[in-house]
Symmetry: C2
Subunit: 277 residues, 2 copies
């Protein structure tokens, strides 16, 4: 038997969905079909959605779960009349917060998020282009402007992490690949020259050899580059380097890009330039 | 007088922060210092944080607001004893949800987010590299594999949007610049040849001329490229093209990257490959 959950918002739906998924993640034995319905910002859209919810209740034989962050009372009233179990975030928490803060809430959800402001917009554009310009060791002369320099073997996840840091937090993240070019006479990986003046900015990624081989195989099938032997060796060298130079590092196999990024911030005290919405 | 709010989580803190910011956005007349405290996953960390909260209460002369998504009861008890006004999301909503779903919740927050799984990981890597490989018209032979092709004048926000779509939703977004190279004899912008077979995949961005000039000025100060005249002309041409060919488009000046991306999905029915956490 299936249940349906609707995450409804008059804005992006990011908050309702994020909270809804967190709550429903606690019920792993229930098969829940989750649907996000953003931009429900008119009575007409609300009426159409209410009809969909009612039809879903009939189809499922169970009322859907409704998690919403709509502020407008009229729009909310339309949704409230649909056949659903309502998790009403705003009315549950806003009233107690009004008392605690001894003021009225402004009922203007989404407006106060400052990410649309010019400054934040510019910071974001800059950070994204910084990440792109400084991807994969393409340039090294801007490292004095970097907030952090991600290092790791080819295809261990440096690029997505750099971009996530840029988009979500405005952090300027360069990244530099660790390769065999930097092995010394004894076959030990040494710190690439371009990184030496910026050791304090380094943050390492590592990865499980099997996953790395799988990723590389899609790029260059059956090559030395994607062989298990090669992947294992490179990873071993990289981790040895991190330990020798006390570079903090994270295993990208175990964590999502969100987790890697937020852990980096928590561990190193990297400062965000803005906050995600 | 300042108040402090703590968004506390045993995971990334993304849910607690997202909800907390939405709730507190309703109180724009209160000056609230917001702090995210992720990875509070041990009693020791909780005790340290509780001490910080208590010290903040003394400093502010007002108890801080605490919004948390911690699941572990012992850890939560430590935070609960700190001097704060608690917005307790999980205990408020989990019990009614348990009744509605007629089952117990698994208290394993964060675990069920599937973004760490191999499939999602691969989808994400692919989408990010797709966006990078197909950035700014660099390649056009993969457009049959694109979910969407963003078009617009240089520096109107195509790249950050493509990357956000890739990272958050696994959507494969290429982007292609509209430039004077594609003006016809009458000085009218025509559809670039590479895009003609993929018209149904196009999505346009436009931007306010003043902001565009500001962005371009940082890149090439005092150039024709960044002059108001040039920016206005290019934007006019691009918008005329969208209208003529019925390409849906959004004004990137008015919306954040999150809003542009979620609006694109809502308007075009683009399918996500996974969901953000």
């Amino acid at each position: 038997m299936q249940r349906t959950a609707f995450f409804i918002s008059d804005g992006t739906g990011i908050t309702a969905e994020s909270l809804g998924r967190s709550l429903l993640a606690q019920f792993s034995d229930v098969d829940i079909n989750m649907q996000t319905k953003p931009y429900i910002d008119s009575l007409e859209k609300a009426q159409n959605l209410a009809a969909i919810i009612d039809a879903t209740a009939v189809r499922d034989g169970q009322r859907p779960i409704i998690i919403d962050t709509i502020v407008d009372q009229q729009i909310r009233d339309v949704i409230r009349q649909a056949s659903g179990f309502k998790v009403d975030i705003f009315s549950t928490f806003l009233e107690p917060l009004e008392q605690e803060l001894a003021t009225h809430s402004s009922y203007s959800v989404g407006r106060t998020h400052s990410i649309g402001s010019d400054d934040v917009y510019m910071d974001r554009i800059h950070s994204v282009h910084f990440a792109l310009d400084n991807d994969d060791g393409a340039r090294t002369h801007q490292y004095d402007k970097a907030d952090v320099i991600l290092v790791g073997v080819s295809r261990c996840g440096k690029t997505p992490t750099s971009l996530y840091l840029a988009l979500q937090f405005g952090i300027r993240a360069a990244n530099y690949p660790l390769t065999e070019d930097d092995l010394d006479e004894d076959g030990m990986l040494k710190l690439p020259k371009a990184l030496a003046p910026h050791r304090h900015k380094l943050f390492g990624l590592t990865i499980d050899a099997r996953r790395l081989a799988a990723i590389r195989n899609e790029r260059r099938p059956n090559s030395r580059y994607s062989s298990m032997d090669q992947c294992m060796q490179e990873i071993e060298q990289a981790e040895a380097l991190y330990r020798r130079l006390h570079v903090p590092y994270i295993d990208a196999t175990r964590f999502s890009v969100e987790e890697i990024s937020t852990r980096m911030i928590a561990e190193t005290g990297l400062a965000r330039r803005f906050s995600p919405r």
